[in-house]
Symmetry: C2
Subunit: 224 residues, 2 copies
DNA sequence: TAAAACCATCCAATCGTATTGTTTTTTTTC
DNA sequence: GAAAAAAAACAATACGATTGGATGGTTTTA
């Protein structure tokens, strides 16, 4: 039935609109990674997208609308990040677990943080510090995004008590922070070898603590 | 002898000039922390400093000059950071060492990273990613600043072989990165308690590795 | 025919910089 | 050592370019 449930298939106009919005957001991302937040202007985004000013203003009336939409676009991207293993629960073997975790850690850096889109997101994030209006528009989605990722990670653990979960979240937060900071550090005077060494060292510190919570009896590095 | 060696005491004009430059740089810092890089304009700095446009342009002809000088001003600040102990070498006792290190770690966060001036520096650093000209002007001083801090830290160790030093530098870099990332994370949805937990966890992971290099025999978490 | 998508142009405001003039300090010269 | 010339510090204003946003018209889709 073509029109059995109305609004189930997007109309041609809706498709067009969505494609246009996507193009604009992606152009904004390109602009942010290439020129930074301070130098990201409406006209520059327009030039990259190859559309007119009126088109942009039709979809996103103000620059703030465009930025909020772009942030949303960027935040929804990493949620596709795979968990430890494609198939659920093949992590009964400790060695498998460690390998899967190592892969996840590496993946987080290679495919999530150390990428153009994340640079763009970082530009927006830093800008929101001094832009309360934009901050308010993005904050909720941002917190949700983090929560989902953390939750997703924790679900790999069979049964997690409150204290263990708190520590895990702290470790995940630390991981985010370190990688984010490393992305910035990598801009100046950090050789590729030095960067690898830092990552190796960090993962070496992190891995046993993350794996430790699988056996509820042995909890390495317990806090308090 | 007042004029024994000429040009030893700064002339009145030089004093005036230096005071003006300092005022301008500090106003720029205020502007950066308050409004961010994108919203830091000449006129805003002028308003904060309370001087005329001509005055600024006399000391710093272009905005880039002002930013470079401000970055320099900010980079020279943290070098006053104290080492582990005020007096050299009172670290023979392991317990004293640990206490001194804990203090140093806490101090690095409280007095160096988690501050307005560092926020300002971070704004400039992120901006340099997409501003090659500014990047080039600042890069050397930036690298030097890091190197000095690292070197200063390593000097606390009596005799350090090459491998140990490499690991120490990786750990110090990781520390910088994590704290920098935490500063950004703290902007959104990170409770004060959660932040403390992350810091506590991180310091707990870091401390034994940093202290391990005092005894050249036992090297914890050795790499490769 | 109405609405959505898109385009071309215009607008006031602000950007960073250049220009010119005034005041203060330093240097030169008698 | 005081007057004159030079230079530095600072101020006021002007300038072209660009900013984000507004307006009115044209094409496409419903």
């Amino acid at each position: 039935m073509p029109t059995g449930q109305p609004a189930i298939e997007p109309s041609r106009q809706e498709q067009k609109s969505e494609r246009a919005r996507l193009l604009l957001c992606e152009s904004t991302v390109t602009c942010l990674t290439q020129y930074g937040y301070a130098e990201t202007s409406i006209s520059r985004v327009l030039a990259i997208a190859g559309v007119s000013k009126g088109a942009l203003q039709h979809h996103y009336p103000t620059k703030e609308d465009l930025m909020a939409a772009t942030a949303q676009h960027l935040l929804r991207r990493p949620l596709q990040q795979q968990p430890w293993s494609k198939q659920d629960r093949a992590l009964s073997d400790p060695a498998t677990r460690e390998a899967a975790l190592a892969k996840w850690l590496k993946n987080t850096w290679d495919k999530m943080i150390n990428t153009g889109p994340y640079q763009a997101l970082l530009e927006i994030l830093l800008a929101t510090r001094t832009d309360p209006v934009l901050h308010k528009r993005i904050n909720r989605e941002l917190e949700d995004s983090i929560r989902v990722i953390d939750e997703h990670f924790c679900q790999q653990y069979p049964d997690l008590n409150q204290a263990s979960k708190a520590q895990l979240q702290a470790l995940l937060c630390a991981n985010r922070c370190l990688l984010r900071g490393l992305l910035i550090e990598a801009q100046y005077g950090l050789t590729s070898a030095a960067q690898k060494l830092v990552l190796k060292q960090w993962w070496q510190m992190l891995t046993p603590l993350l794996l430790g919570h699988f056996d509820s009896t042995s909890q390495l590095g317990e806090t308090a």
